[in-house]
């Protein structure tokens, strides 16, 4: 039982439009974040024949398709690295981002039943959706390392930077997901638009091609796509080549703007979630 001395007070007031971020209450509910992540991971491949094999198959299939089309047929240059390794090094962070983004987008509507029956800080919902993608990412990293060893690409010390770039990918997924998750509550169109939007974003990021194909004078603008910094960061950490750090300023700045505006919009929109779900 909680004691009288720590009695918290709940104040219920009309929607004001502006809400403090209130990270303290998210922290107070950290166990729920853990359980929701755990639930998502646990349930993801339930009742599938391949089970967790899907986490291997998804990047592998994309890698094969891209290698055949862009590596073999289109003969795109791959910075001197075998094309399969080259594209998988980008697919790993890309899929970390895109599955986190997709998951976060549908997270509020997907948890409608809970949101309309129980109070908890709503930010937890997209947060957990993004966090749940790390397991798949870890598996695709293992696949990547295996492929590098197979092709005789050396593993270097710069690998230590991978977690940083992966964190930026997740941050971007969370930031973009805050927007789409809130919009999706009112306008279910979001769900149908998302696949096209993601496809466009994929080709606006150096997944199938090398960043060196983008002319020097456009690179600053190009880097405003946060995934550009992330993916080049991955390639640099794995194979060396063009440094990602000059790109990083633009990529990070955009990611942070998306995050702050997303947080603001989400906190504003969440007051009406239960009325629209």
């Amino acid at each position: 039982m909680s004691t009288r001395t720590e009695t918290p007070m709940v104040r219920i007031r009309p929607a004001s439009g502006w809400n403090a971020l209130d990270l303290a209450s998210v922290w107070a509910y950290r166990e729920l974040v853990y359980y929701m992540v755990w639930r998502d991971i646990k349930v993801r491949y339930k009742q599938t024949v391949l089970g967790v094999g899907w986490a291997v198959l998804q990047p592998l299939a994309s890698m094969v398709v891209f290698t055949v089309i862009f590596g073999r047929l289109a003969q795109l240059p791959s910075d001197g690295v075998p094309y399969p390794v080259f594209t998988l090094a980008a697919l790993a962070p890309w899929q970390l981002f895109s599955s986190g983004f997709t998951g976060a987008s549908g997270s509020v509507t997907g948890n409608a039943g809970v949101i309309s029956k129980v109070y908890f800080p709503r930010l937890i919902v997209p947060l957990a959706a993004v966090a749940a993608t790390v397991v798949d990412f870890a598996i695709s990293l293992l696949l990547l390392f295996a492929l590098m060893i197979w092709y005789g690409v050396p593993l270097t010390a710069t690998l230590a930077f991978l977690p940083l770039f992966a964190a930026i990918a997740m941050l971007t997924a969370f930031a973009a997901g805050l927007w789409t998750a809130s919009l999706n509550v009112k306008y279910r169109d979001v769900r149908y638009l998302l696949p096209y939007f993601l496809q466009l974003w994929l080709f606006a990021s150096p997944v199938v091609y090398s960043i060196t194909l983008v002319p020097e004078k456009y690179q600053a603008i190009y880097a405003l796509n946060p995934l550009v910094g992330v993916i080049q960061g991955f390639r640099w950490a794995l194979f060396g080549g063009q440094s990602p750090w000059p790109l990083m300023t633009g990529s990070l700045a955009v990611a942070l703007v998306m995050l702050l505006s997303g947080l603001y919009y989400f906190r504003r929109a969440e007051e009406q979630f239960s009325d629209f779900l």
């Binding site: 007070m9 166990e31 359980y35 646990k42 349930v43 809970v114 029956k117 239960s274």
Partner: protein, 429 residues
């Protein structure tokens, strides 16, 4: 005022109705027809863009609700469906925001608006206990400490490691209630969760609630079960149309509520303002109970056959309409439901326009007051229009000719099944 647990001050909540609520809204043809084109144009001109943005249909679910709850008091909230009971709990539970007014709550709050919130069918009973506990705001340590008690209370220990989708519905609600019952907050909001499970389990739930009450916790309890309200609460608040209409000792308020049932409009017209749910391709416009001698009856004789006559306005064609009539007692027990598709009959196809539907019902209802819920649904179960307590009527304790009567002081149950009785002398062979 150190002993105050909850202070509610002029709380009001407005909902916007209709699919376009809150979104950009053009004047609909319907508005033009009902208000006249000139009026609509004038409104647009005067209000500018604001009048197009303004949602038209609004509904006040709560109006100016004000009351205090001292620490340790158990308050029952009663009222008809749509009176605002659940909305009040949703606002107090911070699920939705009030439109005006506010409330302050002094203490850690737990709310049970549903049993099994967040249960995932693919997870096992054990896993769901922890997940559901976390959703309700329980700490992991708190769940662990109560784990054995929860399992014991639910009686599903043999199936703890089975996914709950393999549970029977009874097992499912027992487990769900067991988790909820072990929520250890100082202030608890409970919405009708006792109405689950079989009679034995309901008694167990009620006992558990009695214990919670004895712990000296502050509870706001919404129920249609007047017996439960009377046995658990000291005080009751009657809501009607979103307002507090009666607040006092539980017996006074419940008796007042039961004695002032709703009166039907003589012509049976169901106004738009009646709380209803559903997609709205059809709307119930009129409903009456009729008998051989009366076109609109508020009383029927014991055992007298009666009909429920309904008029639906259909705005879009419905290929597979299922019409349902539900009979409930005044204290909220639905004891019979009938459908036009009973006995594998085909659903009806309705074109736009007014449709008259009559259900002839032959049942001996014991002398009580009853309410009728009317629904039109699609054959896949989607609600098109659902009006709870669309009508009420009383069954008298004598038959029309006076040959039959109900002879007991207290009324046990709701219906009298047909029965044949025999007796003979038992001979020992």
């Amino acid at each position: 005022m150190a002993s105050l647990a909850i202070r509610i001050d002029a709380l009001s909540k407005r909902y916007e109705l209709g699919a376009n609520a809150g979104m950009f809204r053009y004047p609909a043809l319907r508005d033009v027809l009902s208000e006249g084109a000139a009026n609509v144009l004038r409104r647009v001109r005067e209000g500018g863009a604001a009048s197009l943005l303004a949602p038209k249909e609004t509904f006040w679910a709560l109006r100016d609700v004000t009351f205090d709850v001292p620490r340790g008091q158990v308050v029952g909230i009663i009222g008809r469906n749509g009176a605002g009971k659940s909305t009040l709990l949703k606002v107090l539970s911070r699920i939705t925001r009030p439109t005006t007014g506010g409330a302050d709550i002094f203490g850690r709050v737990g709310s049970l608006l549903e049993v099994g919130t967040g249960f995932h069918p693919d997870l096992t009973g054990r896993e769901n206990i922890f997940l559901n506990g976390a959703m309700l705001g329980m700490r992991r340590a708190e769940v662990q400490r109560n784990f054995d008690a929860i399992v014991d209370f639910s009686g599903v220990e043999r199936f703890l490691d089975t996914p709950v989708k393999r549970y029977s519905s009874g097992m499912y609600v027992r487990l769900a209630f067991a988790v909820a019952a072990h929520l250890e907050t100082e202030i608890l909001f409970v919405d009708e969760v006792l109405a689950v499970g079989d009679a034995e389990f309901q008694r167990k739930c009620l006992d558990k609630m009695q214990n919670v009450v004895r712990d000296g916790r502050t509870i706001i309890f919404v129920s249609h079960n007047m017996a439960a309200i009377k046995s658990l609460c000291q005080r009751a608040i009657l809501l009607d149309g979103g307002r507090v209409v009666h607040d006092g000792a539980v017996n006074d308020v419940v008796d007042h509520y039961l004695s002032t049932g709703r009166t039907n409009a003589a012509d049976g017209i169901i106004p738009d303002s009646v709380p209803r749910t559903g997609t709205g391709e059809a709307r119930l416009r009129r409903a009456v109970v009729s008998t051989a001698s009366s076109a609109s009856a508020s009383q029927i004789f014991l055992g007298e056959p009666f009909s429920v006559e309904m008029t639906f306005e259909v705005t879009r064609p419905i290929r597979d309409a299922v019409v349902s009539v539900g009979l409930s007692s005044l204290d909220g027990v639905r004891f019979a439901s009938i459908y036009n598709v009973d006995g594998h009959r085909e659903p009806w196809s309705f074109g736009p326009g007014l449709h008259r539907v009559v259900a002839d019902i032959d049942v001996v209802l014991l002398p009580r007051r009853y309410t009728i819920d009317i629904a039109i649904i699609a054959s896949n179960g989607n609600e098109i229009d659902y009006v709870q307590q669309a009508l009420d009527f009383t069954s008298l304790n004598v038959s029309r000719a006076g040959a039959d009567s109900y002879r007991w002081q207290t009324v046990h149950g709701y219906v009298r099944p047909q029965s044949q009785w025999r007796q003979s002398v038992e001979t020992i062979s």
